[in-house]
Subunit: 313 residues, 2 copies
């Protein structure tokens, strides 16, 4: 599991340590020292000492010659990438299948609010997932995602367990800190003291709605393909049955096209909102009859078939 | 159309007045004087004078012996009910089919944020609809829902058209005013200057997702009913095909049960989140085999059929 030394991850470490026999866990700790603060080496030593005390193996990671992909994006994003990359490496090296991360219900509410404000749409509203596959054999899990930070801190206090106060080791985000310390307290005071729960409920509903639409889009793609091998890499066109697409709600048809573009590795980011809605319109009303799309892709209606192909010119 | 005298509704009045020949509109104005402020009679006179100047008929409404249903809820909610009831009455009396209301893109963003904070879930995230049926013959429309208030105010300034500053005639909501004047400006400054657009995009996506799920739930209810007359009023049970329900995503099955409860007029509000999820679980896994629900409703799995009935005791 990942331990920064903050209240959340120290709590999760103690919890998993308590349960190690019952759940037959082989517990290991990974701590990433980003070396962005002077005191970060002390934090790493503190985590090592705690692990020694609990007799849990501990691996400390530090930034090395990073590949270029790690350095893309802002400081926050690249730090996050480095950290998760390190966790994944440790897991693979030690044949560990589950990496536990101590995100809490508070992190969830903060993330949902952050995504609402940034405008990441319904997808972003889903917030942090309970589990995520890092590789085929390594899965990230978040066992504390339903637990409030205040409960964890109370439990640590009752056990007289210390923890590190400065969590910037795991969270460089200026915006995230502002959301935690300013924005959420402000919204609680001015709009609803229970806004955390409201945000989490919204995330859950968005997850359910999005996964329903994804599932239906997946089925629709299978059912409306008239040339069954057309998702095979290399084939430069697909043919889709218009009557099949007409049976489904617009949101499902749109989601299906997004899936198609992803699978064909067509340039998704160049597609504007206008392009997607024109395409959905074609799929259900056969109008317009022809449409030129980014990346040299041409969509054409022929009777009951919508053909989408890469232009050869 | 409804005119409070504020910038939004004065703009819409001028716009519809400009377009009256082109669109062959027969324009009438309705203004509701809630008589909750001393100056409200002056506002009504001001609106009447503006209408005289434009040669548009104007009807002023005032609270009278209200029916009890109008008095339920807080001051804001009951004022809103009275106002819309008045608009509907005027429309019916004058055989008007469309009631235009001057809600703007800013109102939409404020509403979405308000609903997020209150925790009204994905349904609330949809915000204000573009149209809504008041009665069979009267439809409410919101032609300015994509337009920013600042554009309207700029246009009024360029036409040197005055408007009433105090809009509390149409909007008593303390929370709403706080969202407009404090919360949104604060979020723009601290998180994203474009948060309005982000909120509106979210509303649109939530509308699309919700209408997809509603449509699929409607279809599923039709397809899974094994006794085709079971939605007929008075029949105390329904039988639903488990294999049909199993084909659909969980969110669609849940939405279908909500529709069923609404149509059968079973006590929906007494159903907890736990009840709904137990029922959805039964519909897809046949477990538990029996379930007692609020309002004396019993759900039972018999082979491939889920039977839901009112207990006779």
């Amino acid at each position: 599991m990942a331990v920064s030394g903050g209240a959340d991850s120290v709590s999760l470490l103690l919890l998993l340590h308590d349960l190690r026999e019952e759940l037959q866990l082989q517990l290991s700790v990974a701590h990433f020292d980003h070396q962005l603060r002077e005191s970060s080496a002390d934090d790493a030593k503190w985590v090592e000492a705690l692990c020694n005390q609990l007799a849990v193996p501990c691996v400390i990671g530090r930034p090395d010659q990073d590949s270029e992909s790690m350095q893309q994006g802002g400081i926050e994003e690249s730090a996050r990438k480095r950290r998760y990359h390190f966790f994944q490496q440790v897991a693979e090296r030690h044949k560990i299948n589950w990496v536990a991360i101590a995100h809490t219900a508070d992190d969830q509410a903060e993330t949902v609010l952050h995504h609402i404000a940034r405008g990441t749409g319904l997808k972003g509203l889903q917030g942090i997932p309970e589990t995520r596959e890092l590789t085929e054999s390594v899965t990230l899990i978040r066992p504390l995602l339903q637990v409030n930070r205040s409960e964890l801190i109370a439990e640590l206090a009752s056990r007289q367990q210390a923890f590190l106060q400065d969590e910037s080791n795991t969270d460089f985000s200026f915006t995230r800190n502002r959301i935690r310390h300013d924005v959420l307290p402000y919204l609680k005071e001015s709009l609803n003291p229970q806004i955390d729960q409201a945000l989490r409920r919204l995330a859950k509903q968005a997850q359910e709605a999005q996964s329903a639409i994804d599932e239906l889009a997946r089925n629709l793609l299978d059912q409306s393909l008239t040339n069954s091998e057309s998702l095979r890499d290399g084939l430069a066109f697909v043919r889709l049955s218009i009557p099949e697409m007409k049976k489904q709600p617009v949101a499902v048809v749109s989601a299906m096209f997004l899936k198609l573009w992803t699978e064909k590795k067509w340039p998704r980011k160049q597609m504007s909102h206008f392009h997607w809605s024109q395409l959905t319109e074609m799929a259900t009303t056969k109008s317009p009859q022809g449409l030129a799309l980014p990346g040299g892709i041409q969509a054409t209606c022929r009777r009951d078939v919508l053909e989408i192909r890469l232009r050869s010119d």
